[in-house]
Symmetry: C2
Subunit: 296 residues, 2 copies
Amino acid sequence: MLIKRLAIIGVGLIGGSLARALRRAQACRTVIGCGRDQKHLQKAVDLKVIDEYNVDVARAVKDADVVVLATPLTTTESLLKNMKGSLRNDVVITDVGSAKGSVVESARAVLGHHLPRFVPGHPIAGTEKSGVEASFAGLFEAHRVILTPLPETSVGALELITKMWEATGAEVVHLAVEQHDEILAATSHLPHMLAYALVDCLAGMQDRDEIFNFAAGGFADFTRIASSHPQMWHDICFSNRKQLLKVLDRFGDHLNTIRTAIENDDSDALLEIFTRARDARDKFTDQRGKRNESTE
Amino acid sequence: MLIKRLAIIGVGLIGGSLARALRRAQACRTVIGCGRDQKHLQKAVDLKVIDEYNVDVARAVKDADVVVLATPLTTTESLLKNMKGSLRNDVVITDVGSAKGSVVESARAVLGHHLPRFVPGHPIAGTEKSGVEASFAGLFEAHRVILTPLPETSVGALELITKMWEATGAEVVHLAVEQHDEILAATSHLPHMLAYALVDCLAGMQDRDEIFNFAAGGFADFTRIASSHPQMWHDICFSNRKQLLKVLDRFGDHLNTIRTAIENDDSDALLEIFTRARDARDKFTDQRGKRNESTE
């Protein structure tokens, strides 16, 4: 058995799906859940996602050999503080946060001698739904999980968390903390800002009912991520602020180039941008197609 | 038989799919295609999308009772000029352009006594693919087709084009020209600009290979429309310039509000925007779900 007693702090879509996937793979014996809402935790027990729960994080992590933080990013530091005194000396801790710089900062500030057994992680999977009801064992299959080990991270801890994610069907890759945050700002955090801004922009227009009424499939795809959890995305924005502001400004420049070309009747410039973007997007689709084939 | 001789100018995704759908519905007897590329037109004959073709538009429209323009928007005016002398006196003309103001301007400038039998139209359907090879009879099923009749438009012409689209399985609705252009700028043209700008922005970054490598499903959905036909979108931008610039500026203001909230640590403002957008998007999904049910 890979894990004897797994403590999952935050039994939502990601935490719940991880528990389900590890049970299915028979990779862990007992799962204890922790969260603020007792009713929600009882639901997770009823759904057989977890075996037991404790709303007190210090008690929840006691005796656990692996602790997974699957809570909003802004809660990371206080949770680490609250659990620190009750952690086993050989515990391995990981998290699933969408930004890694701020999590690593908190871990460095709080964890002391536990730091070498902290493995920062981020599964690149999710839906726009949230909550344990939306969790399912296959969420991570053929998806990537990025681990961003620190110079201090122990080989054993890294290996255990790698095996844990591989047991869910995910492909584990390693990146530097800064690289993770830059890449995610560009490919995930920025698109979410655009989707939120677009829907908010349209919802404020006079013809809003007609506008939403006539929106077609492309618009539905484009704005799907605007249905994501507001609090979670609020936390991600502030946790990855530096990289996000940088890429927001880059994007603003590119959109402005398009705007200027339209305003100035600059046919060549506009066609060049659209063609370049189309080619880049087609290349991305090809790569993605190949990757999906290779993981099947 | 609704249509005896249908001339389709531009046998691509939309023109080809319309021909296929009308044949399937046995709503037209003969389809003649017109375009600049003889090889492409021969392919359409081989695929049984059209019966015959003529690269000369004046000859192609001769004897046709219905003429459909399914060509890039920038070609509309010169095509109308070239066909005008050969049109039957009772011909009904329609188009499929994504912007209607510029098309109506051309029609008014050129068509003379044919104007009452010109019905501006726009099927809200398409994929990011193009060309007759991508066409299929079911493209318009359960999709909307917007017709924007003019004060001069004859009831008979409007009825014929309405029946033509209904024969493809589409739902026909009427809007004013200006309203069409405002709504489409918001729900279609703006999202395309955002997708193009996003992909172009990311493709120019130093870590571009890593960035595309780690992009997940949400990114794929979000940027799918950046694979659309550059020339077509170039034409749409200039044809609907006024409305597009207006909504681009609106969007810029909304994105900037988000940027400022992140920069100034304005937690309440950010959460408010995300929550408002999420609620609006969820409402849109509900509406869309209900509409799709009702058309099944």
